[in-house]
Amino acid sequence: MAELTYREAVAAGIAQEMRRDPNVVLIGEDVARAGGVFKATVGLLDEFGPERVRDTPISEQAILGAAMGAAMTGLRPIAEIMFSDFFAVCWDIVANEIAKTRYMTDGQVTLPLVIRSGNGGGSRFGAQHSQSVENWAMAVPGLKVVAPAYPADVKGLLAAAVRDEDPVLFFEQKSLYATKGEVPDGEHVVPLGKANVLRRGDDVTIAALALMVPRAMQAAEILEKEHGIRATVVDVRSLVPLDTQTILEEVAHTGRLVTVEENPRLCGWGAEIASIVAEELFWDLDGPIVRITTPHVPLAAADNLEDAQIPSVDKIVARVRELVD
């Protein structure tokens, strides 16, 4: 085990896969010479050379189009979209082309590619550089969607994403890049589609993703210590495929579900999980399903304003107490 930052774990995961398979290549804006604007691809150009690690123009559609064309003809590209907000400038290639081509061709075309992107708020970048858009991807059939919270999962899930035969959107939470955690040495792969139960309690199940996971964990500790409420915390990790089995089991046990979403309220992943639980586990519920989300507004740039928007530990604690008391 080594202690790595979240951003180092990105580079470690990519390097592990590039060493294994010469068809894995990496492209994106400033990913090569500069090692990425978030420094998450540092060292890769040096190790793998300019044919495999390539800087691109500011042409997100061409970046993803190139990745798709390469994937359908034998490569396993990893493409970076610098900020996930920029998916909006290349959404066609993602949602209409990459997501649908295998289906439309009745399986003739296989697209083993990964699109990594810096996602989420907390860095005071304002409304166009802070969005959590994993639900944009989740809403489109044909995309796998992953959003790790811890360095070990960054490396392991990224490796699994590269090995997967299907397109995977890999969301890296920008304000987690500097966080640290133990990461297994050597080959490390975490299968897609498995939620991670981080702690178990009897009173309530909290499902969270990415930046919301450490906050949910902190909230759970406070709830237990200060309020005697014992919470299960599920790190959802993978939105597609979704580990409904684990979630349903945990909710069945506690009888209560709270989702903690960084995305703005409407049509977030929490709504999907809530609807699944409300349909399949209705008779096991002991109370309403509660969603804690960023309110349905764009994110502000100023620190005190942004902090008032994104779910905080305090907000999670308060809302869970309302539900359980």
Partner: protein, 343 residues
């Protein structure tokens, strides 16, 4: 402008003599097959055996045939929803094409894609793309991959005049040049988008050729209704790409005989214009050239008859095929063959 005209003229004259008889007959055969197949598709529409939409390339066969014959079997084709001809010239069976248009089990994708998405990876026909412009970037990616893998494959990407005004055109051209990719971009300028003339919405006269210099490329404007010109231009561009010379951008002037799609009678076009272009129909024009070159009419008639026979047979085969099993609508989202998003 002068560069363009010179180029056209050069392409028009000089290399024609070099094409051998067999190749010429193949070019003719391909055009005739395209024409008959699409005429049949049109009839099947009228009989309501083809649902949805469909975009015919009637009148534009010289571009498809010229390239189809010039390309090697391992070269990649990327084309648009107006892609029946481009699919056929790569060797895909007529039955599978008609079957896909009819949306039954005999189709290339058993009805899952439809007429706008014909794809046959087996034939390196990497897809028909229905969002204007998207495939230019994808073709660039295939070219990048070909070079990375050390093959000598070239990707050829066909698109319309209207596609030259969308952002992906610009992004794909720039990237292809910067990375010096083996890709040939072919604009089939048929003068119209859906119902609007390209010149009404474009800042320059030649929507592709006049943009070539923006990517440091030579402007290449050719008569897209002369299959010899298309063929020789294609050979040159493919060869340049194969030898590491990077991409080309070719504008082939042509015309569609009918409307944009199934629903469109094409009435927005001036009668004179239509007449003028019907007179430039690439097929009778080439037929005459072949006769002039001393090929006997019987040979041509037998090519035509053979093409018609193939179309008739394919029609019967495709018509007889049963509908696709509904279960396939829920398959092949993922590489494991399934569509599960949960456990």
């Amino acid at each position: 402008m002068d560069a363009i005209l010179t180029n056209t003229t050069a392409a028009l004259r000089e290399p024609r003599a070099a094409i051998d008889r067999e190749t010429r007959l193949t070019l003719y055969r391909r055009m005739v097959e395209c024409r008959y197949l699409e005429k049949r598709a049109h009839d099947l529409f009228l009989q309501n055996l083809i649902k949805g939409t469909s975009h015919l390339g009637l009148g534009q066969e010289a571009v498809a045939a010229g390239f189809g014959v010039a390309m090697r079997p391992t070269d990649y084709t990327f084309c648009t929803y107006r892609g029946h001809n481009h699919t056929l010239v790569r060797g895909v069976s007529m039955t599978k094409i008609l079957g896909e248009l009819m949306g039954n089990s005999s189709g290339l994708m058993r009805g899952k894609g439809g007429s706008m998405h014909l794809t046959s990876v087996e034939h390196h026909m990497m897809g028909s793309y229905a969002i204007v412009g998207a495939h230019l970037t994808i073709a660039a990616g295939a070219a990048w991959s070909a070079r990375y893998r050390g093959t000598d494959q070239v990707a050829v990407c066909f698109f319309g005049d209207g596609a030259t005004n969308i952002g992906t055109f610009h992004e794909a051209l720039n990237l292809a040049v910067v990375w010096k990719l083996p890709v040939v971009f072919v604009c089939e300028n048929n003068r119209y988008m859906e119902y609007t003339a390209i010149h009404e919405v474009t800042a320059v006269e030649h929507p592709a050729a006049d943009r070539a210099s923006a990517y440091g490329l030579e402007p290449i404007l050719i008569d897209g209704n002369d299959v010899d010109v298309v063929y020789t231009t294609a050979l040159r561009a493919l060869d340049a790409a194969r030898r590491g010379g990077g991409p080309s951008l070719i504008e082939a002037e042509t015309y569609r005989h009918g409307g944009h799609s199934r629903a469109d009678p094409g009435k927005y076009r001036p009668e004179d214009e239509v007449k003028e272009w019907l007179a430039k129909d690439p097929i009778p024009r080439y037929r005459q050239r072949l006769l002039d070159l001393g090929i006997d009419e019987e040979t041509l008639v037998s090519i035509e008859a053979e093409a018609q026979r193939k179309v008739d047979e394919a029609t019967e085969e495709a018509r007889r095929a049963p509908p696709s099993d509904e279960r396939i609508a829920f398959e092949n989202v993922w590489a494991d063959g399934g569509a599960a998003w949960r456990n």
